[in-house]
Structures are given as C-alpha cells and as structure tokens.
C-alpha cells in the first residue's frame, strides 16, 4: 500500500515540479467572462468558483468568510467543508513550454474537501493526476452507550452490566414481577447509562489519488496505465442487536484501502479499418478491521435459553455478554477484456468485445458465536466450518454489435450481449443458526453461492424523413439464476421512437417502450430455502419477488425543445413516465411501481451582458405493495391482509441570472433553488384481522431544501479582483420514522445523531490575483 502511495506522490511531485518550472515560461492569457448560460456553481461557500471562470487564465484566490448554522446538523457539511476565516485557496495555472502543455487546478487546498488536479501532455506522455478528499458526514453528536476501546472493541463498564443483570434476574425470578420487564421499567433502569454516554460524530473520509498515464499520445497505438488508491477512514452506524428486545446501535469502524492498477492498449490496423483494444487490471480491497465486539448492556455473563433472542423481556433475560460483528472482508478482483471494431462498407461496423473477471475472497471465518453458554451446550460450534472462506466468482461478458447506415436515411443496429456471473465459492454446511448470539436454533443449513447470467438480443432500425425520424426495435432479455425461485425469466420489449423537427428551432423527441416479463416457473422452495436441508416454506404463497415476478412495463419519454429568436431563448419541456405492473402474478409483494415527472427548463440570453435561466420539475413516485400478517404459522385469513401505498411527490424550482454590469469590470450572479418533497404512507387493512385497522403515516420522507447563492465581482485592477458573496441554505425534514428518535426507545438503543434540519449561511470576501 505504501509503495503505491509513494509512487503516486512521487509522480505528483515530479509533474508539479515540471509545472513550476514551466510556469515561469508560460504564456499569459486574457481573462474572459463567460456568459454562463444555465451554469450552476458547485455548492458551498468554500467551493464557490470564481465568477470569471476562464480556466486558462492563471489565478489564485482566497476567501475570508464567516459561516454558521443554527444547529450542529451533519447535513450542512455532508460532502463538503464550510470553514470560517480564511478559506480556499482556489488555484489555476495553465501554461505551455516548447515541449509540453500543462494545467494545475486546485480547490480548497486548506480544507477537508481539498482537490488537486494536474494534467500535462508532451510528445512522450500525457499525465492525468487527481487527488481528491471527499468527506461524508453521517451524523453529528451521536450518543453511544458503548465506549470505543479500540477499533475492534467497544464496551460498557462491567459494573454497569453486572448491576443491570442482577436487577433483571431478580425481577425475572419473581413470577409476580416478571411481566413488568417492559419498556417503562427498562427505561428507568438505563436512564443513568444514557446520561453518561460519550458524544461523537459519525462519518468517514475518502482520500483518493489516481494517476493516468498515456504513453506516446501521438502514436496510433494508445497505451494507458492507471493507478488508483483510496483510503476510507471513519465510522458509520451499525445495527448490532442482541435480540428483538435489545437493539444496540453502535459505530462500525471503517479502515478501508482500495487499490487499482490497470493497463489498456488500443491499436488501429488495416488502414484504420480495424481497431483492436484490450485491458487488464487488478483491484484490491483491504479492511484493516475484520470484526469488532460490543457489549450487551444487560448482561455481564453469557447465558442462553430458547427465548433469549427476545431478552430482556418477560420471556427471558438471558443472552450473550458481548457480540461480534463481521466486517467487509478483504477481496481482490482481476478483470480485463479484449475487443475489436471492424469497419465494413456502407458505414457499417462490427464490434465484438469479450471481458472476464475473477473475484476472490479468502478471509478468515469468525467463530459461530461469542456466547460461551451456547458453546458449552453445543461443542460443535466451537470452530468455524473452515479457517478461511475460499470464495471466488468468475464473470464473462460478450458483446457483439453490428451497426450500419446502408442509405443516408436508414440506420440499422443489431446487438447481442451475454454476461455470466458464476459463483464458485465453496459451500459450507452449518449446524444451525445463532440468533443474535443469544439462542442456537438447530437445523442443518448450507451456504448458497448465488449466480446469474443474462442474454440480451436487440434489433433497431430508424429512418429519417425530412422532418421526422422514426425508430422501431425489439429486445429480448433472458435471465437465468441459480438458487432462486425462477430458473429463467424472459422479457420482451418493443421500442418505438419518433423525433419531429418541423422547424430548425424545434425538436420533439418521443420514445415508448412496452415490455412483458414472464418466468418458466416460480418455485419458492427452490429459492433461498436452497440452504435448508429439508424443504422449508420461506415465503407466503402468492408472493412473487419483484426481481423475478411477471411484469408489464411502460417507459414513455417525451422531450420538446424550442430555440426561437435566433437561439437567444431556449425552452425545454420533458415528460417521463415509468410504470411497472406486477399485478398479474403478485398477490403479495410489490404490485405497482410508478415514476412520473414533468420538467420545464428555460434559458434567456438577450445579449452578452446578461442571461437568466429557470427550471421546474414535478415528480411523482409511487410504490404499491400487499402483504398478509402471520403469527407462528402462515395465515390463510384474508382479513390479515394489508396494503401499503407509499408515495413521494417532489416539486423543484430553480432560477438564476448572470449580469455583466460593467464589461470586464463588474459582474453579478445569483442562483436560487427550492425543492419540496411530500411523502405519504397510505395503509389499508380490513377490520377484524390481525393488523386490524391500519393507521396512515402522513409525514414520511417530507423534506424542504432551499439554497440561494449570490456574488458580486469587481475588478480593481488588471490583476486584482474582489468578490463579495453570500450563500444561504435551509433544510427541513419531517419523517415520523426517523426524526424525533431518542437515544432509548422500546427495545432499542439508538445513536440518534443530528442529521436533521438546519439553517446555514455564509458570507465571504474573495480576493483573486491573476497573472
């Protein structure tokens, strides 16, 4: 790992030093003010690019800014840094020497979201170097009852655990008080623990560096070597439970390293009529933390019984003293491919590509359980089924495509694609299932390496009339899956498109797709129950999993663009409708899924002095599903049926303008956007059944995001520019399932971080020097 990092850094240093040398000889270019039609800036005051964005002008700028928000929500800085005081700098240097051309671009070099991009080319080599830091803040002020001892262990004081255990065992021992082990009692018990918890932020940072080298760029043979490394460090929330009655959310450590090396070549042959290409690469993922342990707040010693997975409750107060969570294992992928494009007469091309991949994972397997009481009773669980996993997946892809334009107005396309994922991971027999390290449920199982393959064939033809292009085609998708309910699903899709251009300033594109998917048979026992040694019903009869269910699909896209008045004014209106209907076969499960959107964009540029733009989007997302509630056995009572109609409606509006107040001297630009999402959970259930009367959730997914940015720029002298800007953001969220979460709720300890609404704002003065 260090070797890759070292090589990367050395390359960056070498390229940078070349730039530094060349800068002194570089040419200067006059600055320009782009019209900025419809251009939106990268969000965030620290990320605010210069108003004058002539990328080939050399400049450096620095912000002096003030920033703040009314709460400490992580959402404000989810993927960005919003510093106070001096922020930036942003730097761009473009230059050339007699032998090379280069560009150095840097953003927020002093910040937690810094980015450095270097490009250079010469007759010998073209280099593309990127260093990028991407923060991902997931929640501030998380409150865990577990103290983080190391990256592999989190814990609670033994004294506290022993105290809670003894109190619970005493209460459980007395039949009169056993039934009082409920939320009210437990809340009172854990209240002192909650009040003494540590507070920390959830999130991680990606540090990425990539170097792409193209050798002999002027040569007909293209040779490219790409090196990549990413370090991910931090944490995220993890659902770590000791039973249905004892969820303990913890912070999962993240210490990932991903490295990738790839070589690709491309060569023209036969007078450029044949293009050969190929690549091969290795991608390695390493996780420094294989697993981590966490304490059960209610037990200091291990114990078990058949109901311990419900503890602490009136049924049991047993369970493990601590649990262990497996984290993503190290793995490696080798992949590559070869291909060719052959030019045929009549504007025809035959393309063929073959790709392969091999994915391997051989990490050590964890023990079956941490619970010594289970191990004492079941010595067979003392060792994992193997020391290491021995997992591997091979994939092969084949693409063959023929395109032709035998006449000026006729286009033909035919393609075939096969992709096969063969999971050759070793299968292991296990003696049963350990529920939350609390209860061993005996029953032989075998691990199931899922695989699949797809075959797709498509034929398309289009013909251009003078103002009308008509296109038609058919596609057939066949999916085969191993260890799934269906052996094969087949989808036939008809595609029709019509593009109309009645005037030079008007384009109306329309496309329609209608699909019909069917399966050979749907056998629930063949599904995930493949892991059971005896047939087991794993789903209610009548449920069809939506990835394999019979389905009718509609895809409608209509897009109208008009640019009258010589192109100064452009309006575009789109209509999109995606509809999947599973109703023919799915009594339960997903029945309908719909997405419908209408968007309108407008841009007006009457002169080089100013332009304005606006956009609006209305979206409707809906998923309708049905279920039936069961107890210990599958219900056959229709009164136990229920349905959930989950709907999100989103309205987005944005507008902005750019003004050149005094050409080459002063400019003003601003952008505002607002999005409102209103969700609704509409539940139905007939009275008298097990769910009885369902209650809707009116506040689900409700958010409102408002942003406004504005900047006034003034050129003080040829080399100096001053910018005065502000940035305001308002975010609201109301979700009855996710907002208002307290640290301890029935049967659950939550981290309850602040990732909620906020009011954030920034004002800054930017100084820019150009040379």
């Amino acid at each position: 790992m260090k070797r890759y990092l070292f090589i990367t850094l050395m390359l960056m240093v070498a390229v940078s030093s070349t730039f530094a040398q060349a800068t002194s000889q570089g040419t200067t270019t006059p600055a320009q003010t782009p019209t900025g039609q419809g251009a939106e800036k990268v969000e965030g005051p620290a990320s605010a690019p210069a108003t004058v964005t002539n990328i080939f002008g050399n400049f450096i700028n620095l912000n002096l800014q003030t920033a703040g928000q009314d709460t400490n929500s992580s959402k404000f800085e989810e993927y960005r840094a919003v510093p106070e005081g001096f922020a930036g700098p942003e730097l761009r240097v473009f230059g050339e020497t007699t032998a090379s051309t280069f560009l150095v671009s840097a953003e927020n070099l002093m910040e937690d979201d810094r980015r450095l991009y270097i490009w250079a080319d010469s007759d010998l080599i073209e280099a593309d170097v990127l260093y990028d830091v991407i923060p991902h803040k997931l929640g501030n002020e998380a409150k865990s009852i577990e103290t983080i001892v190391s990256n592999q262990a989190q814990g609670i004081s033994d004294v506290i655990q022993a105290n809670f255990q003894s109190q619970l065992e005493a209460r459980f021992a007395n039949p009169a008080t056993r039934s009082q082990i409920n939320y009210a009692y437990l809340r009172g018990l854990v209240e002192p623990l909650i009040n003494t918890t540590e507070v920390f932020d959830l999130g991680f940072t990606r540090q990425r560096a990539s170097v792409k080298l193209g050798f002999m760029p002027g040569s007909p043979i293209t040779t490219t070597l790409t090196l990549f490394q990413e370090n991910r460090d931090g944490n995220r929330s993890s659902g770590t439970a000791f039973g249905f009655g004892n969820v303990v959310e913890t912070a999962e450590p993240i210490e990932y390293r991903t490295r990738d090396v790839r070589l690709s070549l491309e060569a023209p042959l036969m007078g450029n009529n044949l293009l050969l290409r190929g690549s091969i690469g290795v991608n390695q993922f390493q996780n420094a933390v294989t697993s981590y342990t966490f304490d059960n707040p209610f037990r200091v010693t291990h114990s078990t019984d058949a109901s311990a997975y419900q503890a602490p409750a009136s049924a049991s107060v047993n369970g493990a003293a601590f649990g262990r969570m497996a984290l993503p294992p190290d793995n490696r992928q080798i992949s590559g491919g070869v291909g060719a494009i052959y030019k045929l007469p009549r504007n025809s091309r035959l393309t063929a590509d073959v790709s392969f991949g091999r994915l391997t994972q051989n990490d050590e397997l964890l023990p079956y359980t941490t619970n010594l009481a289970i191990l004492e009773a079941n010595p067979v669980l003392g060792l994992p089924p193997a020391q290491q996993f021995d997992g591997r997946i091979n994939s092969i892809g084949v693409n063959v495509q023929f395109t032709s334009r035998p006449m000026a107005n006729l286009n033909l396309t035919a393609r075939y694609r096969m992709y096969d994922v063969e999971n050759e991971s070793r299968r292991y027999d296990t003696p049963g299932f350990i529920a939350f390290d609390a209860t061993f449920q005996q029953g032989d199982r075998t691990s199931v390496p899922y695989g699949w393959s797809s075959n797709r064939a498509e034929v398309l033809a289009s013909y251009d009339f003078n103002f009308l292009t008509l296109e038609g085609g058919v596609r057939r998708d066949i999916m085969e899956r191993t260890f799934r309910e269906t052996g094969e699903t087949t989808e036939n899709i008809v595609h029709v498109a019509a593009d109309v251009r009645p005037f030079s300033w008007m384009v109306w594109r329309n496309s329609f797709e209608f699909g019909d998917r069917d399966y050979d048979e749907y056998d629930q026992v063949r599904g995930e129950s493949a892991s059971f040694h005896e047939d087991e019903q794993v789903n209610i009869p009548g449920l069809r999993r939506f990835d394999q269910a019979k389905r009718d699909t509609q895809r409608i896209v209509s897009m109208l663009t008009v640019t009258p008045f010589g192109g100064n004014f452009a309006v575009s209106a789109n209509y999109v409708r995606y509809f999947d209907d599973y109703g023919d076969s799915s009594e339960f499960g997903l029945v309908e899924w719909k997405n419908q959107a209408i968007t309108v964009d407008a841009d007006y540029t009457p002169s080089e002095r100013w332009n304005a733009f606006a956009f609006y989007a209305n979206e409707d997302w809906r998923g309708f599903q049905r279920g039936r509630q069961s107890g210990a056995t599958f219900s056959v009572n229709p009164l136990d049926n229920w349905s959930a109609d989950l709907n999100d409606k989103a309205n987005t509006f944005g507008a902005g303008a750019n003004f050149s107040i005094v050409p080459e001297k002063a400019s003003l630009n601003f952008t505002g956007r607002v999005q409102t999402v209103s969700g609704y959970g509409d539940f139905e259930s007939p009275p008298g059944g097990a769910p009885d009367v369902a209650v809707d959730i009116p506040n689900i997914d409700d958010t409102k995001l408002l942003t406004f940015t504005g900047e006034l720029t003034y050129r003080l002298a040829q080399a100096w520019e001053l910018g005065l800007g502000a940035w305001i953001e308002r975010y609201k969220i109301k979700d009855d399932l996710n907002t208002g979460t307290q640290q301890y709720l029935p049967a659950s300890f939550f981290l309850a971080p602040n990732d909620l609404g906020y009011k954030g704002s920034t004002a800054y003065v930017r100084t820019t020097y150009r040379w």
């Binding site: 990932y256 023209p268 007078g271 969570m325 793995n331 390290d437 689900i700």
Partner: protein, 303 residues
Amino acid sequence: MTKFLPWSLAIAFLFCVGAAMAQTPDPQSAKSGPGFDVAECQSCHAETLFTNFQHTPHAKKIAGSCAECHGDVAAHAKMKMEGEEGIGPVFSFKRVTPQQRNEKCLSCHEKGRQANWHGGAHDRRKVDCTSCHSVHFFKSQRAQLRTVRESETCYTCHAQVRAQGMRQSHHPIREGKMECGSCHDPHSSTTRGMLKAESVNDLCYSCHADKRGPFFWEHAPVRENCQHCHTPHGSNHERLLVAKQPWLCQRCHMVTRHPGTLYHGLNATSGPTASNRAIEHGCRNCHNAVHGTNHPGSPYLGR
C-alpha cells in the same frame, strides 16, 4: 475451462497488440488541409479564435488547423475578399446534419470511448458531438464541454436527474465530487444505461468494494443488481434506497411472524408503540449485513 480463459484472452490480446505494433502508421492520419492556418482565419474570425481555443490541441497540433475541420477555407477566404455572398465550399457545422457533424469529429476521434459511438442511444437520437462539446467556446476544464460542469451538460436533456440530485440522500454530484461521467459514458453503445462497467454491480463496486464479497452468506438480489434496492440519482430514503424500510424488505420477505407484520402509523417514533422494525433503519436495525457476511452463524445477515 474458465480457469484458462483469462490467460487465453491475455495471450490473444498480447498477440494482437504485437501485430498492431508491427503496422506502419496510416499515412491518411497525417492528412492536412489546404493553406490557411489559425492566424490567417483570425483576421475575420477573431471572436471565434481568440478564445480558449487557441490553447487546445485543435489549434496547436493540427497542421492547417481550420481547414482540417472546415474544408477549403482558402476558397472561402478568396470568395469573401472578392465580396461574394455565401460561405463557399467550407464545412459549416451549423449547416449540416448531426450525422455529418459527428462524422467530421469521428474522422479523428473514433478511438477510445468514442469508438463505441455508432448505434448508441445518443447517436440514434441525433444527439451530435456539438450538442455537448464546443471546439471554440467551451467552458469546462476537461473535455471541452459547453458548460462549466459536466453534469450541467447532461441536465440539459436529463432534467429529472438534476431534481433527484437535490434529494436528502444523494451522491456528491451537486457538491462537485462526482459527475455524471463518473458512472456513465455518453459515447457508449454497448452497455445499458451507458454504464462504464460490464454490469451495474461492477460499476458500484468501483467505489463500494466493501460490498463486493463474495460472502459466506449472500443476499441473492444484492449479488444480481444493486438497483433492486438502490436508486443512484437520489432518494429521500436513507442510503439511496428505492423505498423505505421495512416496506422495501417486505416486497420480498413475507414470512411468518415479524417479516410479514404491517408496520404503520402506530409504530412511529412519536407513538407509544414505536417499533424498532420500522423506525430509524427499519429491518437493518437487526439485519445490518444485508450485503452479505462472513459470519458463519448468521444466515439472516444479523452479524
């Protein structure tokens, strides 16, 4: 058989490369247009040429630069100097069909990603190179796009994706840390959705290699397609999910006891009967390892 396939392909590839290197460069690739270069055309077309264009390979590395793309500029200049109307025999990108524009660009650029242009959705729908790129008036740092940021170019037509990007759960596109081109190749004709990988999962693994496995206990739809559960352009559900938990999981899991139970308004955080199967992360409060696990005792992905 499959064990030897990668090596066979690698050897075949090396053989082909060797054959390619033995070829003599095509003399046609060094063709040049008649007369006139950038400086001469600039006398009339200063606005077109005295821009970022002058620093690009188009201006610096192509002999007879203007003529290379615009044809007989000498005849055009002679015509104009003699006061004739029209543009003469020059190739004007504004006056030809999208396919003619594309053919002109592809005469040099039909390699790399662009080699797959023919037959793709953009090609078939008459989107042409100049719809997104501008040789003379580009604004982007890379690829000479018409807009400062790549995603703005795509939003010109794919407007709904811009709205999805404003959702509370989103990839860092609006923050400038990703672009549409991070996942899509607009020149491609061989993969669905113009993805830059052989499959959806292979693409997602390039940033989320921790989800790659293979695992001791797997989750079948996860192995097949990340998009069964995630929607990459933006969502108001946590972690870019297509629907909220537990109902997302209940689309496939309708077993006895809790998987088939209806969770509804009474189970909200504010109610007296809040359920840890509905609030916060729903099913994932217990079944955290939904992408797979190496824990042999956890077929239900709880550890």
